[in-house]
Amino acid sequence: MEQLVYKKPDSIKDDFKISFCPGCDHGVAVRLVAEVLDELGVREDTIGVASVGCSVFSYDFFNVDVVEAPHGRSLAVATGVKRSKPNKVVFTYQGDGDLASIGIGETIHAMTRGEKVTTICINNTTYGMTGGQGGPTTLLGQVTTTTPQGRKVEVSGYPLKVSEILKEVDGTAFVARVTLDSPQAIMNAKKCIKKAFEAQLKGLGTGFVEILATCPTNWKMTPQEAHARVRGEMSEVFKPGIYKDRVSEAK
């Protein structure tokens, strides 16, 4: 007897073509979001916001209505969508350059207003699409194309810790930082993404998940080495965990 054990989520398009580099965690992250949309039964009521960076092509994958935002402005666009259609499920899928650098203002203010939206942020400590420049989350000492001597405090300051900032913002209802470096971590990431959507569905406020993700191409590492980096030096600075959970408190 045949038994179906694994299938493409309905929230992923049938004719999708993965355009991410080999070993990049974006593909796993996109799939987890799609699985959560399926499980919550909200695919047909969802409007996604695509941002600029490697995440821009999320509309190639997500089988939902999507609007594209200018660089950094996803949460302002999401605000406009959600305030117009309060009964729809609205989410943004952004990179760390988009959310934490050029879009940090929109991010903090949308979440301060407690917009009932969900935000997934891929933190890979670099500007991936433009070829690996130093960004707001680049670790001290990390070599990038614009920090060839390694990031120095006196030149570029410190890496920005987004989850630690957003947990202090009163309008957020769920804030977590997760990794995708093992099956267990992936299961945990999915649980957190689901809670970030539940925060919105229950009207509690903004749900936010920061995903520590690999960028083997720009890090010049194998996928295995890249995940070891996530587990090692990245997790030391950006500590994984649930920073705020009003969803469980509300249960």
């Binding site: 999507v66 305030r83 203010h109």
Partner: protein, 365 residues
């Protein structure tokens, strides 16, 4: 029921017209001389079950408009000069996305922070834009509180019908002055947006609204289609005023508040036997080039009058070039000082004598 005339401030008139037009969401950030629009809507939008959001910046406000407009519902922001400058990236995206929305731009003096006095220094900003790429921001310019109302309606209608951002270009004088006006009923039919707007892919293929276009040919076609749309707007939605242009030897070109003062000067000139007329484009962008060209072929000269250093002047000159060998003179004053009827009349007289009667030598600024 016919509504009564009442004494209305321009900014409040625009805000009331937005509600009457069915604007569902407003996003804005305060800046003088237009702050009353947001203040009024913060109080009255909720009463109508509509939404007011105080954006954290004009950058955020225009992107909220992008999101709100993508759902097909009528949406608006209002701002001024240095703050409209912050919206240019968003406007380019919205134009490329073909999203309908309305921007009310109440000009103040510039450059930079300038000051809150009336000015027409943002003709270029509205009609030439600071956003990247090939697009036009469709722009209407009122000259009275009544036109602020009527053109707010027009802006919503044109934006929805042609799926494009539309700008109402007023100035500090129009925003702050009071005069009798009627906020009548929204006179246009509702335009169905359901074939493209985002509301969740229920029982249909998902939709994607974006300016990104990876296919070279696709991007070319998209831009060509946008420009076909601008041509249709010029053909179908053009609004202008011609006053005493028939038989005139000298025609004044002017828009917005200064055109109204110029009209009074033209009346005086006619009274004194000078054959002077006025052409006031109300649709500024796309510019009604053909009308100016046809006027140019029948007159001895044109005097362009603006509250700036000569911005619409360039469009007037471009319309005249190649069709008529007539002088295009300019009388302008930048940043904040209105001209009186008397001052404009003197300039008309001087220019008339120089061009038509060929008596005097120099003129202008």
């Amino acid at each position: 029921m016919k509504k009564e005339k009442e004494l209305l401030k321009g900014n409040y008139a625009i805000a009331q017209a937005a509600i009457e037009a069915g604007c569902q969401t407003y996003f804005g950030y305060p800046i003088t001389p237009q702050s009353e629009i947001g203040e009024y809507l913060s109080e009255h939008m909720p009463e109508h079950g509509r939404t007011f959001v105080a954006a954290e910046s004009e950058v955020a406000a225009i992107n909220m408009l992008l999101g709100a407009g993508s759902t097909g519902l009528k949406t608006m922001t209002s701002s001024s000069s240095c703050a409209v400058a912050l919206m240019q990236e968003g406007l380019s995206f919205i134009a490329g996305d073909e999203i309908p929305c309305v921007l009310v731009s109440v000009m103040r003096g510039g450059p930079g922070l300038g000051y809150i006095y009336p000015s027409q220094g943002d003709y270029y900003q509205a009609t030439k834009g600071g956003g990247n790429g090939d697009y036009k921001l469709v722009t209407y310019a009122p000259d009275s509180v009544q036109e602020c109302i009527d053109l707010t309606y027009k802006c919503f209608y044109v934006s929805q019908k042609y799926r494009t951002p539309v700008c109402l270009l007023a100035d500090g004088m129009l925003g702050q002055m009071m005069e009798p006006a009627v906020v009548g009923e929204y006179p246009y039919p509702e335009v169905d947006q359901s074939s493209w707007a985002l509301d969740g892919a229920k029982g249909r293929e998902p939709r994607f609204i974006a300016s990104i276009e990876r296919e070279q040919e696709g991007l070319r076609k998209r831009v060509v289609k946008m420009f076909e749309k601008y041509n249709q707007i010029l053909e179908n939605e053009n609004v202008f005023e011609k006053y005493e242009v028939e038989g005139a030897k000298l025609v004044i070109t002017a828009f917005g508040s200064i055109a109204r003062i110029a009209k009074a000067a033209v009346k005086k000139a006619r009274k004194n036997g000078l054959k002077v007329g006025l052409f006031r484009p109300i649709l500024l962008n796309p510019f009604p080039e053909k009308i100016v060209s046809s006027i140019a072929q029948k007159v001895d000269g044109i005097l362009d009058i603006e509250l700036n250093c000569g911005q619409m002047l360039q469009d007037v000159k471009a319309s005249v070039a190649g069709v008529a060998s007539i002088p295009v003179e300019f009388f302008g004053r930048p940043a904040g000082m209105m001209m009186t009827v008397e001052e404009i009349y003197e300039q008309i007289e001087k220019t008339y004598k120089k061009i038509v009667e060929n008596k005097y030598g120099t003129a202008c600024i």
